[in-house]
């Protein structure tokens, strides 16, 4: 652990203030520390989020699916805190430092947005790699923060960037009331190693895997097959199936012919929507042959998709790199999935079942994984309940009054 008084003083030029990008930026740190928090669900914050949503949904962002998806999500973001009563006050936690992940440029907005709406002051550390999406987001945020009606937000929300070699993570950790840390595992561990205040809350999003459970017995006509394929595509299209919430495994109840029909339908849809790739088929070959060699998995190739059928997903999951490979585990009934649940499981999407059936299975105390059960098609819809954490309570404190 690195303690507060042990790090060497840093070069002021080590850190760049990306937003707000106007006014004097040498006092940004003092400004955000000195400011008071906003009230929870303040009208100004709500108005900001609405304006940001509109800005991101502009047709000029057509070539950035992630930005449009984010803009769309921002329309409906809500913070359903239990109504404030005299007996319970909701207050923001204070200064929240967000550590954005590499490779997913829009992710920081989801958690920052909750931080903002709950009245917190926020410092967001962005990934060092500058990308078109990151720039577009910063530009949109800057354009709004400049407006006089959002001046209070400009004082309380700072977006920064600094290199790996900097000691700013230590400095920010020392003043944070909460740290929201996006991973993978290595990032989360290394940031947590920096000392924070005794009551600083850490909200960590580390490596997870996700699956779908599909009732093939219910897919008895082409319409239903196409319907399910559409939704499976929606869940896997962004990030080449590498998002932590996208299903890499499919628990399949039903016949092989129904499975093949579903994969064919999905492959057809996929062919319409993705570009040919130099590497995809080779990656699928490597993965499927590894699975076949390693545990005798049966391999199904359909168009741009490969599926391997196995009873031992744990033997191959570490080699899975997205690329439209599916690990199919045959089950005879939903409760069979119990044998495969680990604490790395995040999302289980379902089709052809009632949510209650799945919920009942998960109440058993021995299952330490699956933090989210949602209908197929909704895998990537972010929510304040994420990775088993309630972001609303994570970023507020509850004052108990009697």
């Amino acid at each position: 652990m690195i303690h507060m008084n042990e790090y060497p003083p840093t070069d002021k030029d080590d850190i760049t203030l990306l937003a707000p990008s106007f006014g004097s930026d040498c006092d940004w740190l003092n400004e955000v520390q000195a400011a008071s928090c906003m009230p929870v669900k303040d009208a100004i914050a709500l108005s900001f989020v609405k304006a940001l949503s509109k800005s991101l949904l502009d047709p000029k962002n057509k070539n950035f699916p992630e930005i449009v998806a984010l803009g769309f999500w921002l329309r409906n973001v809500s913070c359903p805190l239990t109504a404030q009563s005299d007996a319970q006050l909701h207050k923001p936690i204070g200064l929240t430092v967000h550590f954005a992940p590499g490779n997913v440029d829009t992710m920081f907005v989801y958690s920052w947005c909750y931080g903002l709406l709950l009245g917190n002051k926020n410092i967001v550390r962005l990934a060092s790699q500058v990308t078109p999406i990151q720039s577009a987001l910063i530009n949109a945020i800057n354009a709004l923060l400049q407006l006089p009606e959002f001046a209070q937000l400009a004082a309380r929300n700072k977006f920064v960037q600094y290199p790996k070699t900097s000691n700013w993570t230590a400095r920010l950790s020392a003043i944070a009331d909460a740290r929201v840390i996006w991973g993978g595992d290595t990032s989360v561990n290394s940031i947590r190693a920096y000392a924070a205040k005794p009551r600083t809350r850490d909200i960590c999003f580390a490596d997870r895997v996700s699956a779908a459970i599909l009732n093939g017995d219910e897919l008895d006509n082409n319409d239903k097959i196409a319907h399910t394929a559409q939704r499976l595509l929606r869940d896997t299209l962004p990030y080449d199936q590498q998002a932590c919430s996208s299903p890499r495994m499919i628990f399949w109840q039903g016949s092989t012919s129904a499975l093949t029909a579903l994969l064919e339908s999905l492959a057809e849809l996929l062919n319409e929507q993705i570009q040919p790739s130099l590497t995809r088929a080779n990656e699928q070959l490597v993965f499927s042959q590894y699975a076949a060699a390693n545990n005798g998995a049966e391999v199904i190739w359909r168009g741009q998709i490969t599926a391997i059928v196995t009873q031992q997903p744990e033997a191959v999951i570490s080699q899975h790199l997205g690329q439209w490979c599916f690990i199919v585990i045959p089950v005879t009934q939903p409760s069979d999935i119990g044998a495969y649940i680990t604490d790395r499981f995040q999302t289980l999407t379902y089709a052809g079942y009632q949510s209650e059936e799945i919920a009942t299975i998960l109440t058993a105390p021995q299952y330490t994984g699956i933090d989210r059960v949602v209908p197929i098609g909704e895998a990537l819809d972010f929510n304040y309940l994420w990775d088993g954490i309630d972001l609303l309570s994570g970023l507020t404190r509850v004052v108990n009054v009697r």
Binding site: L57, D58, P59, K62, V68, A69, G71, R234, L237, Q273
Partner: protein
């Protein structure tokens, strides 16, 4: 009236000209209407008609004709 508003939404969100917005215009058959543009379109339709579409309707809205059918469920008269 509703038809005009519908056409305007398609024109703006997808970057098309009026004459392209026919009933049989279908999702994913033209480059302008891909999954990203689809979201922009949904947001535009929701704002225009002051409704909130559920997930199934968003996914099922595969053509202009389908859009009309779905909007009718939300009491939009065509």
């Amino acid at each position: 009236m509703s038809q005009q508003k519908l056409t305007a939404a398609f024109v703006h969100a997808l970057g098309l000209t009026d004459d392209k917005v026919t009933d049989d215009l279908t999702y994913n058959t033209i480059p302008e209407w891909d999954s990203t543009a689809h979201m922009i379109l949904i947001a535009e339709l929701e704002d225009t008609f002051d409704i909130m579409l559920d997930t199934d309707d968003i996914i099922d809205m595969s053509s202009v004709a389908e859009a009309k059918r779905i909007l009718a469920k939300y009491n939009v008269q065509f």
